[in-house]
Symmetry: C3
Subunit: 441 residues, 3 copies
């Protein structure tokens, strides 16, 4: 190894590198924007939508979302195709919405029902259509598809939405930075150790602060990381998956790995949705059940609009000084700049997950740009898409004496069982994983 660099090198470190536009810009016509537009994206929580239109912004587009008098949803370009007045001031009709300015009446698919005072046989009816997008409301979240209409995918439903005896609350959190730095944080398990345990004191479970063996593996949906660590006499293997392009599942927030279990599923299913290049809105579900939270540390009452029941996720929950004293994900991600500049980074082995996720996203973007069909999740004959996030804990023969290689081999065995069982229903899948990993450290 050469001698380390000298100190006081600030003068030489004032680079003017720019962000990686291919991965971070999401407006119409951009490579990543096109990629994002091939998938259903959450646009709002159902509870945000009352009797008035809601101005929203998604992938750099100004839109208006509303529920018409028939209970059907519409998602239209915000500015009226006639003379540009905003449909956030539109009058909601029994079917569709009417622009306040000249009474142009649009159906929920953007077609023109009536052009105000224009004659019914005016050629304008043959020419005009308001920009509109298909929406789908599912479990209190409204999803939209902003891509080409002939390439609309089946609406994805995930296995973890069907956990028994489980409550669910929707949440939505705005982060003023690029989507990718919010998203890649989920394939960066090292930060849990530092940011959430050592830098700021223990923010989640105590066990999450224990050093872990980390591996990464691609899945049919994207990728997962595999974290394996000793917790007392147990070994805990967590897999966290990225459902491309921007979905994520995360295991129990306060997991302590105190007893053996297999395939315990996630406490959060969420999407890091690009509002525009420098604003991200994370929308998803927070799941509650006894298995995920045996000690009753979850707090559903704190879960909702710009709020969630664990620390460091929003701007307004704390003063600047409090955030300095105990920074969380919000401070780390936002302070990476409005759009993090990869060319200024010094990535190391602990960034392998982030690097791999970026590489996967870039491959998918270029795959699409090259004219290929986007990758789409496969239901594999099940009524839902199988996912790969889970926690498995085994009692470890011989206590903590195992080597790193033992832990790594065990983690791989768990991951292989999770992958190999993705054609099964939840109960058989859990038994399959249990059989594969128990008593075979």
């Amino acid at each position: 190894m050469n001698s380390p660099p000298q100190g006081f090198q600030g003068y030489f470190k004032t680079g003017t590198e720019q962000e990686d536009a291919e991965l971070t810009h999401v407006g119409p016509g951009t490579p990543c924007g096109e990629y994002m537009r091939r998938y259903w994206q959450p646009v709002a929580m159902s509870e945000e939508l009352g009797e008035l239109p809601l101005a929203v912004r998604l992938l750099g587009e100004d839109l208006v979302l509303y529920r018409d008098g028939s209970g059907n949803l519409g998602l239209l370009h915000r500015h009226c195709a006639h003379r540009g007045a905003s449909l956030e001031y539109g009058i909601i009709a029994e079917c569709g919405i009417i622009c306040c300015y000249h009474g142009w009446h649009y159906a929920n698919d953007g077609t023109l029902i009536s052009a105000g005072s224009e004659a019914p046989d005016s050629p304008i009816h043959g020419r005009v259509v308001q920009g509109a997008y298909p929406v789908h409301e599912h479990n209190d979240i409204i999803f939209a598809y902003l891509g080409p209409p002939d390439a609309i995918p089946a609406f994805p439903v995930y296995d973890t939405e069907f956990m028994p005896d489980t409550e669910r609350k929707t949440f939505s959190i705005t982060t003023p930075c690029n989507w990718l730095q919010v998203y890649e944080n989920t394939q960066d398990p090292i930060h849990v150790l530092h940011l959430h345990a050592r830098s700021s004191g223990v923010q989640f479970g105590v066990a999450s602060g224990v050093d872990q063996i980390i591996e990464y593996q691609e899945t049919p949906l994207g990728m997962m990381n595999i974290q394996t660590r000793h917790v007392g006499e147990h070994v805990w293997t967590r897999t966290t998956d990225s459902i491309l392009p921007n979905g994520n599942q995360t295991g129990a927030i306060w997991e302590e790995a105190e007893e053996a279990k297999s395939m315990q599923r996630c406490s959060i299913l969420r999407w890091m949705v690009p509002v525009d290049d420098t604003t991200t809105r994370t929308i998803g579900w927070r799941f509650f059940n006894k298995r995920l939270d045996p000690r009753g540390q979850d707090n559903p009452e704190l879960v909702g609009k710009e709020s969630i029941d664990f620390i460091g996720q929003t701007a307004d929950e704390r003063s600047y000084e409090e955030a300095q004293r105990q920074p969380g994900d919000y401070e780390a991600q936002v302070s990476q700049r409005p759009i993090a500049i990869h060319a200024l980074e010094n990535r190391a082995s602990s960034d392998a997950g982030v690097a791999r996720l970026r590489r996967l996203i870039r491959q998918n973007i270029r795959h699409l740009s090259a004219g290929h069909d986007p990758h789409r999740p496969d239901f594999r004959g099940l009524p839902f898409i199988s996912t790969y996030c889970q926690d498995t804990v085994v009692q470890w023969p011989g206590g903590e004496a195992s080597t790193e290689d033992d832990l790594r081999a065990h983690g791989r065995r768990v991951a292989k069982a999770v992958l190999d069982s993705d054609h099964l229903e939840p109960q058989p899948r859990e038994r399959f994983v249990e059989d594969e990993v128990t008593d075979k450290p």
Copy 2:
């Protein structure tokens, strides 16, 4: 007619067209800015001017307006010609204003009375002049002329300023969008039907919500629209005129057309003044008399700075939710974008007035750019300029059975009488119009 366009076309409707700079940009040296600079423009209400200088902005120029110790007005470029300190911090003198920084003293025409500590015979006196513009105070409004000094027009005074038994209040309202979308709204009579009656409930008179026959006609001052409609047994013909480049007159706010009358004049004379490309200040007079307001619905106490006595004109009068529930001109105009993008519009027959007004303005801009003298209003031997805004109501023979063609012909007759009589004093003109239109449906 071909089949109408398909729905869900948002993906194909994300155009990046830009505004029409020729009609909307108003800074020094721009085509429309040059055009605007050939006319007197309101710059402030007299009541805004106290004993301190007033920082104002007009046509993209930063200026300072003040009344000196002799009672004379000055309108100077805001930054001192010496070293740029703002004259809004200037010391008002018996004659002119003194820059606070080094005591340079300017006359109201911008000439240098004294350069502070410079010797009286310093050559600086022969070199420096502060940018200044002529001003004219008239009926509590201060007007300025920002054009070339050798092309200054006579100050225009309009017939409607001399209505008998009439009170007058000045008002000034700021709208954060381009001047043209505020101005063209006045040649868009269809919006009255929709925005002010059907979208938001009745905002003005009930009669203004009745379907009308609309025609447009050029006038010596610009253009007018002619709105003719049945109201019970009467036919009401309203003409609304545009006094180019940016003046407007509008009839009685709460007109119900319940009795026959001829040539009832306007309740508002105003100018939509470009502060800069994305801010407009409407300054003018609101007129009050028994004829215009027989029911006492006007409220002079609400008329003044950023306030007027009818709904939907300002930002601060209502919450966002209230504005969504009952949008007005403010919401419609501002939400067309900071500068509306004509290239994204889908204009139809009901936009004929807007299209014609834009065409007229463009012709005038190009006329000037081509080196011709700007069009100037003609006093035609009268002590004022005749204008064309009026309401005429006749009792209709045969009640409501008339055809659209009958109404159109009647409207044209009214308009012709109004135009043909513009060389007459108000009383003879009113009799002329009455004679021309009564008993000759």
Copy 3:
């Protein structure tokens, strides 16, 4: 002399000239930025630094300043060299600071102590260094050097810091405009007459409103102006020096020149520090002693963060109307525009000091750009750098009957004595000046 220009020329005075970037832009790599980076610059008052990192900005660079657990200071680039999270959320260690996100630990010189979870033998340790700058804490001000490490100058200490029986308070004031307009104000003695006496009423001493003879002279540190005026039977000569690139000393605020004295030193030593191109932070010391303030008009309690004990220096001390009624330096400087545009100025003989200061700065910038070493102050064998700011008052033979030439000659004599004595300790220097100027008008 030709006839003066005509009035109402605003139409012809709408120039679009731009700022002089060579003198005003200070970011990395700019000519003036490079020049500024060859000198120690104040970055904060010691009192601003508590137990948390302080986000600061200097010469257009985002930095973080902190005092570690050993009491040593660090000034690092704000964004972590690893993945860009801000070190304002860093955890202060016994030595250095730890990034909150992944635990990368930097020494105060930016070298990497540990890369979080990376193995100790990871090659990353041989590659990465966080941008860092040397700092020096001196009399409650923290100074930083942002230039090339091999060109770091000796830390300068000035003679006026050693005035006997003197108290000192640090202050820091932010002005939202370019540094040069704040700085050149100190070589613009004419403005004192106007802004601080005639425009706004007397803001400082009454004597400072008396007309003066002004000359300018280069010094080994930069330049000084020499102001000589009659005050009753005395003649007062003030020299105010500019310590390039951006230091200034100013004499007693409330000087009334009522008794003879020699070489009375300054009441302020300060630096006009460019935060970026359009923000300036003036940081320095305010000195208090009986000689400088015989009447007790100083008020140390008002001196500190964004506050000082004389009028017109900050944004928040007064309402806009109060500032209009009695404008001060803040209003004059800020209103010259975010960056004053020299090409629009009309400089006259009273701007000779400003012109000379700009010329000197430009010479120094070009001297450096041409590859020469920057000029550095010389200690001349003393324990401090001799400076040139002082007030000398003599009883004038023959009262006020002297001519301008007499005053000018006297002022030059004082200035020569001040310059000729700069190799002496304070006491002998004061006697030297007194000998040279007394009884030899």
